[in-house]
């Protein structure tokens, strides 16, 4: 009997404990929400990823903004720089209608997806139509969905071809303008140099987003396209097939790329090039500052060119870069708009370009005398950045990317013939795009 009573008491205490926990938890949540809407009316939260060497410049810019708008406070919250992790973070918290941040940086490929989901505030009025010409054209295009601008381009990026100036000069070559020239020069120099550890051409072939970036611009160079404005796929067009066959052949036929490019990402190829083991490299402009470091074996020996094309094609490099967007659920949209305007202004972009090395999205900045003097490399990139091409623009890009990564990887690693891989990709992607039509209705 005695035992029984103890049991009853313990059970009672247990349930009371559980109840307390729940109550305490709910109360805590209420507290937090309450404080956000009542006390900090003049505070906005700006979320961005950890941009290398930029912490100080962010502080400085925010201080300037706070001085311009007395009483306003901007809180920075920093995410890791891994793009997939950021996407996952924003998708899950915006999915739940989070108002915990007001302004945030998004990757150029997210804009259609986030806009269709209704997570981004329409910012068309921040850059009126007549002013859009002040920006580079591709990023504006990539941030426009169904006629409305959903994010303001903050900085841009584009794939470029790095080459070894010293080696090309030694054999009297000009930087290659066509794929044929690139192949010929690489084969010639590899033969003459007689170095086992020298590679002709490195690019990113691992099954990941970087492979799509590389393929996108090589396809453009052959005059092909992945997805056009009418949502039609062009992967099985002759030009796109030729582009992928050329990528595959650099490894297996021309032997100018080692077979490990099919597992290489940006960093692996950058390191190899920096060690002096490589003639041509397709990569992003961030590599430049690494190559020019004092301890870099290739310091002063590197040149930069547009990605090659086939003769007669214009070509384009893949558009990368980050945009300022406003959270649709934000309670302080007016302040957020002011902050976005400030951050994307020519003056702020110039400061970031000077100290951090980001590539401005406003054309005018490239004519600035100080930039030309202190960052000639950025100015030199203007032609590349003016001719960038976005990756396929659809809200279903994440799903589409999953298919493309696999089929491109299959094509370049000779797991499937190029034509078969592209046909499989088209079939799967059309299945995905059907959904888009449904959601739009």
């Amino acid at each position: 009997m005695y035992m029984n009573r103890i049991l009853k008491y313990s059970a009672f205490i247990f349930w009371v404990g559980v109840g307390c926990l729940f109550w305490w938890n709910c109360a805590k949540d209420d507290d937090r929400k309450g404080s956000r809407t009542t006390v900090d009316d003049e505070t906005i939260v700006f979320k961005h990823f950890k941009l290398a060497n930029a912490a100080e410049q962010f502080d400085k810019a925010i201080k300037q903004f706070e001085e311009l708008h007395p009483g306003v406070r901007v809180i920075e919250e920093v995410l890791p720089s891994n793009t997939n992790m950021q996407h996952q973070y924003y998708a899950t918290s915006l999915q739940a209608g989070s108002d915990e941040f007001d302004v945030f940086l998004i990757d150029v490929i997210w804009t259609p997806e986030f806009s269709l989901a209704g997570w981004l505030e329409d910012v068309s009025d921040l850059v009126p139509l007549e002013e859009r010409d002040a920006f580079l054209q591709a990023p504006i295009q990539a941030n426009t969905y169904q006629g409305k601008l959903y994010a303001v381009p903050w900085y841009v990026d584009g794939g470029i071809l790095f080459y070894r100036k010293d080696l090309l000069q030694k054999y009297n070559f000009e930087p290659p303008a066509t794929f044929k020239e690139l192949t010929r020069q690489a084969q010639f120099i590899l033969k003459k140099e007689k170095r086992d550890d020298l590679y002709g051409f490195l690019w990113q072939g691992k099954q990941y987003e970087g492979l799509i970036c590389a393929a996108n611009e090589i396809i453009a160079g052959f005059g092909g396209d992945i997805l056009d404005a009418e949502n039609r796929l062009h992967l099985t067009d002759q030009k796109s097939l030729q582009a992928l066959r050329w990528m595959r052949d650099t490894i297996h036929k021309y032997k100018i790329s080692p077979d490990w490019v099919t597992t290489a990402d940006e960093e692996v190829t950058r390191l190899s090039f920096m060690n002096g083991d490589c003639l041509f490299l397709r990569n992003w402009p961030y590599c430049w500052s690494f190559f020019q470091r004092n301890d870099s074996p290739v310091k002063g020996k590197v040149g930069v060119a547009l990605m090659p094309t086939v003769a007669g094609e214009k070509g384009a490099s893949t558009l990368g870069g980050w945009q300022m967007a406003i959270n649709h659920y934000s309670a302080k949209k007016e302040l957020a708009r002011k902050f976005v305007t400030f951050m994307t202004s020519a003056e702020t972009q110039l400061q970031f370009a000077l100290t951090v090395g980001t590539k401005p999205s406003r054309k005018k900045v490239y004519q600035n005398a100080r930039l030309q003097e202190q960052q000639p490399f950025i100015v030199q990139l203007y032609d590349v950045l003016r001719a960038t091409r976005p990756r396929p623009m659809t809200p279903f890009y994440p799903q589409m990317s999953q298919v493309l990564q696999v089929e491109f990887s299959a094509a370049i690693s000779k797991i499937r013939p190029v034509k078969q891989a592209m046909a499989m990709a088209e079939q799967q992607i059309y299945h995905i795009l059907e959904l888009e039509e449904r959601v739009k209705q």
Partner: protein, 291 residues
């Protein structure tokens, strides 16, 4: 003193917690798997068995199932054989034995993501140490693209996993070995049994229960393998190393297809459940027979 069903009350708190953390998510997962749910675009359609029907014709699912089974069978078999060997070595009384034991455990103590990153550099086709060593010793003439080769990629992943988890098997088997009384060794020695016979007829039957339990631990782990593959290849080349967990992760978190992603996860769960049930059932039968 106690009534017949008194004990049920005792179970309630534990059952409640289990329901909260295990049964509820599982049941919700099953429910989700009957929907096409992409919350990003406000799609929530009940599609009944559509997902499951699609699953059976989904080539990518078949590929990842095959990859997972291949990985599990080979890696677990290697780990158990090597683990037993290492455990027997650990039991030999040699100087420095204690330090050896500590060192052997090292791979198991390193987080998988960290050790996988390390293996990624080892396998690097350009300056990875594996290629350098094999070429210096003249075994290879050209560098091998370990993680990009259609067959070698899976083999490389298996090696990295075996390296990491053999110590775990070895540790448990070693514990099993310690329970064997020394008299048994001595008497079998007196009976004139050689090392091999002693291992086969004395040691192995006695540590069999431990081996079987270790195997099921490892099997369940291997069927859900994620981290080592995610770091080393991300599923490439062309999905030839994509496992069920990686496929489910990509569906759920990279493309936010909660419905079909749940179908794949639930199917993974059922596959693991069925395989382990068969195994556990066999285990019970065997032990009852032995007694």
């Amino acid at each position: 003193m106690f009534k017949r069903h008194e004990h049920i009350k005792f179970l309630f708190p534990a059952l409640f917690l289990l329901a909260l953390v295990a049964f509820f998510p599982l049941a919700y997962g099953i429910v989700l798997s009957f929907f096409r749910k992409m919350p990003v675009f406000h799609i929530t359609d009940f599609t009944g068995l559509d997902n499951i029907i699609y699953l059976f014709s989904d080539l990518r699912f078949q590929q990842s199932l095959w990859n997972t089974l291949l990985f599990t069978v080979i890696s677990v078999a290697l780990e158990v054989v090597l683990g037993v060997g290492v455990a027997i070595l650990m039991k030999q009384k040699v100087p420095g034995n204690r330090m050896l034991k500590a060192f052997i455990l090292l791979p198991w103590a390193i987080p998988t993501v960290v050790s996988a990153k390390m293996w990624q550099w080892i396998y690097n086709g350009d300056f990875g140490i594996l290629n350098v060593l094999l070429m210096e010793t003249g075994i290879l003439h050209n560098p091998v693209n370990w993680l990009g080769h259609p067959q070698l990629a899976m083999a490389s992943i298996i090696i990295a996993d075996v390296w990491k988890t053999t110590p775990f098997v070895a540790l448990l088997v070693y514990a099993g070995l310690l329970t064997i009384p020394d008299d048994l060794y001595d008497s079998s020695k007196i009976d004139g049994a050689g090392d091999l016979r002693r291992f086969w007829y004395v040691i192995l039957p006695l540590i069999m229960p431990v081996i079987l339990i270790v195997t099921i631990f490892r099997m369940m782990d291997a069927l859900r393998v994620f981290d080592v593959v995610y770091v080393l290849t991300g599923g490439g080349p062309a999905n030839l190393t994509e496992t069920l967990s990686i496929y489910a992760y990509k569906l759920l978190f990279q493309t936010l297809q909660f419905g079909y992603g749940s179908t794949v996860s639930i199917m993974t769960f059922f596959i693991i459940m069925i395989l382990s049930s068969i195994y556990i059932y066999q285990l019970y039968k065997r032990f009852n027979y032995m007694q």
